[in-house]
Every structure is written in structure tokens, then in C-alpha cells.
Assembly symmetry: C2
Homo-oligomer: 348 residues x 2
């Protein structure tokens, strides 16, 4: 069925378009996520004038045999923290995402247990919900939605042409659950991107406005231009900006992580060896940005055989002591997609 061999002449053309090819500089970025008492946090470092941003480095061709090794080296040199999970996230390569020529950024999602950090560039744990305040629904619907975002969406719809209107309306419904549509906790990146287009996040306000965009299917990889100069507590727009397009990358990471919660046991990578079921639920709720029904959550965890009791008890609960559990790594080979099958990450 495949065609006969050799057609070197024709095949030459595949690589012939190298005429316009150029070598790009490769940047590695890490979104290292953990969970504090009740807050999901990501690691930031200082990027000089550009303010806070993700740990980033250029791929060192002499040292790093694989991309993941490069990220490992990066996080090691910035924090020394032991990273318990790595996953390639996305490659950002739009023109204009970084100043001075094209730069490709390969971003990784990483998970670690929470602990204080020290390092050469003042690493610190930033609350994910300082970046995306509209993503935390644990104490009810965020006020920001009705105060800022929905009005901005209305305005955006109002100033659209008749052609654009249905698409825009659909997009607003999809991402922010406008109208009778549902809020999908996973669509973090979609929401950030729309907020960016609405011009209500700091990066977009500092830079040029609307863009139009391609509108095709699939994940858009449009870049946020270089941001102004986010300093502590002193920024415009909703949520705290990061250097370059790093807030976008963080949004992609949170989206990926929330999506994974349902079908892969990744939560355990931010938890200590043993933990109570309440702590487990607390961490899941922190990451999902949603409260969960307590009894059902325990039933779920139990029936999924994700954990096993250690026989030890935590007395510091303030109430009845709670049994300590540990993650059963064996489930990985027992079921195709182990995880807290939170189908719609259903709340109470």
C-alpha cells in the first residue's frame, strides 16, 4: 500500500523550505505548584526590572540531554526543592512573546511538597488565586465576576459587529458560564485569554489593545506582549501580572492540573507521605477552587482504593482525631485511569 521507495528529488522539497528557516533560542520555564495550608501556590523568582516571573533558563545544550533534565536543573538551581512530578505543558512560540527576536519557551508543570524556599533569585510561593482571583469559588461566587468581568464582557459584546456577536457570545458562555451555561473549573486558560482580550488584565492594559485573532478550533497560542512592570501590590487590572507571558503559562498549568485531578492521582505529589482524608480533601479543594461534599469525597476516595490506612492517628485536629492514610501507588496498575473521578468536580 505505501508507495514504492525513493523519490529523493521530490522529498528534497520537504526540507527545502529551510531557506527561510532560522535558529531560535530555547527557553525552559517551570510552573512549580504546591499547596500551602489552604492555598495553591506557584513558585516565582525575580526577573529584575520585569518583576516576578516563572523560573526560566535557556536550554544548555552542553549539559541537558533531555528537556526534562533541563527543567530539573533549573528548579534545582533556583530552589533546591525536590520535585515529585514533571510534565511537559506547552510550547509557546508566537512571534512577539518575548522582546528581541523569536524565542521558543517550552514550559513544564512540576509538583512539589510545600516547604519554605531559598535561592539566588529570591524565590517565593505566590498564591495562584492572586494571579487568578476569579478562579477561587470556595467561598462562593467571586465578586470580581459580577463587578468587573461580566460588565467587560457585556461591553465587548455590545461593541461587536453582527458577524462577531454569535461567536463572541458563545465564547463568553463557554468560558465564563455566562447565561445559563455552567462554570467549568478546568477552563482556566480560556478565561485568562478572554480576560486578556477584554483588556482587563494588567498585561493587556500596558500593551496594545484588541487583536482579532484567528478564531479557529483548537487551543490558541497567542502571546501576551511584554508586560509593564508589575511591582508588589501595585498593578492595574484584575489579578497580579507576571513578567512576559508568564501568567498565561501559569494559567495553562493550572488548567492542566485541574484537568488531571479527575483521572490521575497527582494530588498525592503535593502531600506528605501520610495525611488525613480531610487534608486530602482540603488540598483537592484548594486546587479545584471548589468545595466538595465531605462524605461523598471520602466514599469516593475509599472506593477508588487510592489510599490505605496507616493505623496512626492525627490528634491535632481540634476535634475527633483523624486516621492517617498513605497513597497506594499500586492503583496505578490496577485501573486504567485512577483519580478522584470528579466528573464535573461536583460540589455540595
Amino acid at each position: 500500500m505505501p508507495a514504492p521507495p525513493d523519490s529523493a528529488a521530490a522529498a528534497g522539497r520537504v526540507r527545502a523550505s529551510q531557506a527561510g528557516a532560522s535558529r531560535a533560542s530555547i527557553e525552559l520555564s517551570a510552573v512549580l505548584i504546591s499547596v500551602d495550608e489552604t492555598t495553591p501556590r506557584l513558585l516565582t523568582v525575580h526577573h529584575g526590572r520585569e518583576g516576578l516571573g516563572l523560573p526560566s533558563t535557556h536550554l544548555d545544550d552542553r549539559v541537558d540531554r533531555t528537556l526534562q533534565q533541563g527543567v530539573r536543573r533549573l528548579v534545582g538551581s533556583e530552589t533546591g526543592l525536590p520535585v515529585r512530578y514533571f510534565e511537559q505543558l506547552y510550547t509557546f512560540g508566537d512571534r512577539g512573546r518575548a522582546p528581541g527576536g523569536r524565542e521558543l519557551a517550552v514550559a513544564y508543570l512540576a509538583l512539589a511538597r510545600y516547604q519554605p524556599v531559598h535561592g539566588p533569585n529570591e524565590p517565593s510561593w505566590l498564591s495562584c488565586y492572586e494571579l487568578f482571583p476569579w478562579e477561587d469559588w470556595r467561598s462562593g461566587r467571586p465578586a470580581l465576576l459580577d463587578d468587573v468581568i461580566l460588565p467587560a464582557i457585556d461591553e465587548w459584546l455590545a461593541r461587536s459587529t453582527l458577524d462577531e456577536l454569535p461567536t463572541r457570545r458563545e465564547r463568553a458562555e463557554l468560558t465564563f458560564g455566562v447565561g445559563h451555561a455552567l462554570w467549568d473549573p478546568v477552563r482556566v486558560l480560556d478565561r485568562y485569554e478572554l480576560a486578556y482580550e477584554l483588556g482587563i488584565v494588567g498585561e493587556a492594559m500596558a500593551a496594545s489593545s484588541g487583536d482579532g485573532g484567528e478564531g479557529g478550533a483548537g487551543r490558541r497560542a497567542r502571546a501576551a506582549p511584554v508586560t509593564g512592570n508589575p511591582r508588589a501590590g501595585d498593578w492595574r487590572g484584575i489579578g497580579m501580572p507576571l513578567a512576559l507571558d508568564h501568567r498565561r503559562i501559569a494559567a495553562a498549568a493550572l488548567e492542566r492540573l485541574r484537568g488531571k485531578l479527575a483521572y490521575r492521582p497527582v494530588v498525592f505529589e503535593v502531600l506528605p507521605e501520610t495525611f488525613t482524608l480531610s487534608r486530602l480533601q482540603q488540598v483537592v479543594e484548594a486546587l479545584a477552587g471548589q468545595v466538595l461534599h465531605k462524605q461523598n469525597f471520602r466514599r469516593l476516595v475509599a472506593s477508588a482504593n487510592l489510599v490505605e490506612p496507616t493505623g496512626e492517628w492525627d490528634q491535632r485536629t481540634g476535634g475527633r482525631p483523624a486516621e492517617l492514610y498513605r497513597f497506594r501507588r499500586e492503583v496505578l496498575r490496577e485501573r486504567p485511569a485512577p483519580g478522584l473521578g470528579l466528573r464535573r468536580l461536583g460540589g455540595p
Copy 2:
């Protein structure tokens, strides 16, 4: 909470590791998938001496504003086919994945309706199951498993040290469902990677053998070295090799696509505007490599509100005429994760 501004001196170090930085050449690759009558197919082109491979090109910095535009241009110039879905797949950047210096490959998954192709490099639709014969369970358990793969696994386990044994056994159970573990249709890449390590796929046989590997969590991005010279029907090992590490990339694409079936309505991008429910099922089965319970499938599709009847009927069924349906794009905004909730892609 964030530290006070400015620490330019320290921050300099973040980017100071540029000392060893190098600019890499960026290759774009597309895994364009469609479904023939009953076979999932991906588009291959001729790569000269290296045989069949994926459509690939170097990123043209002058033309392509975004990576996705580059892929669009690539598929356009190779085939002219209208692509209905794009999604970034993975970035492969291990040293040694391509001859002659480091090359980063950014791979995209693309979907199109099936139609004959023409182009400068003899594009053709290759059956996915010619690449991965062990992935097609529609007519029962593939013989290849018991004839070749399981014996190779046994041998691999037998020659492992006592340290390696539990890890290896677990991995075998996880990927190939050895023992009483279940076969997860989604783990296409894991299976290809293990088969590669077992030395039973052509690429691994032509090149050096075992490697050891890192063994950490997360997706491994190890590269398959340059392959021998896959010619039509004339290769060693199981399944047909592709040029370079392109079969690995194809495995990643099939894995992603199978995973997406359950929670995103991507099937419809390979179907024509209208279709019968049987055709829909046939396409899903082709991609999933599994047969599905017919009555339940229809109930699923109906209850998910994914399609709506057109009122027209297809008379060419050979039996009772079937009603034609069309995809309801609106579901995208009605439910968080629309798709054929094939939880375990459950069969009959």
C-alpha cells in the same frame, strides 16, 4: 507578600546561564489523522532515503507568526487539505533525536475529513494500525501480543536484576495489561516506548539497544534514534517504522486523540456534515480500536445531545434506511466536558 521591587543583580543570574545556551533549529511536524471506511489513517510523505515520515518543515520565521500558522502552512503545502482541528501535541527535544546537532520538533495533532490527497512529496494515508498493529482490538485480541510482545516482555523480565524486576513488572502490567491488569486503550505511547525498549520495533533494532532511562514520573521524552530505511513491506520488528522518531510522535498523537474522544467532541471533525449513527460509531470504534455496544452507544449519543436529526435518510445501508444526523455545536457551551463519555471506552 511578594518581595520589594528590584533585585536586578540577583535576577541577572536567571538569564546568566545563557553562557551555555545555544540556538536550536525548530522543526514543525504534523500528525494529520482521518478515518477511512473503517481504518484510522495518518498522512505520510516521502522523506527521500529515510523513507516515509510525517509532514515536517522548519519553522519559517519570516512567514509564520504563530506555530500553528506554521503547521497550517505545512499541511497546506504538502496536501492542500482543509484541516478542521489543530492541537499542539508535544515538543521533542532530546539530544540525538535527529542527526546533526540538536533539533527541537514541535508536533501538532490535526484532524481532517478523509479524501484522496495529492502533493509534491507523494502524500498518502497510512493506516494507524500498520504502525501499531497491537492497538486494534476490534476483531479480538491481536495475535501479535501473545506471539511476539508478551514473550519479549517475559524475556525482558527474566534478564532484569532483582532491583529492576518490580518496576519492570509494574510497567508491563500498566502498559500492556499483563497479568490481571486491564488494557487501557489510551496508553498508546507507553506501549510503543516499551516495545522500543524491548527491541522489537524496527527503529530500535536498527539502532543501539537498551538504554536504562531515567524512570522518573511524568512523560518520558526519550528519542528514538535515526531509523534504518523503512521501505514498503520490508521492515523488521512489529509494525511499520517511520523516518526518524516519527512513529513515536504518531503514537503520542493517537494516544491524545483516544484520550480526547471521551470528553471532547473531536470525532465530528473527521466526519462529513451529516452522518448516520452507525457511521459515527464506526469511526469512534476505528479510532478507539475497540468495538462498542451498539444500543448503548446510541443512547449515549442521544442523551449527550451531541447530535440532532436532519430529517433525511440514508438509503444505502443495505438494510433499513438510517436517519442522518448532524453535530450540534451548541453542546460545547451547554456542558463542561461534552464527549462520548466512554469512561473506559467500554466495549460489549
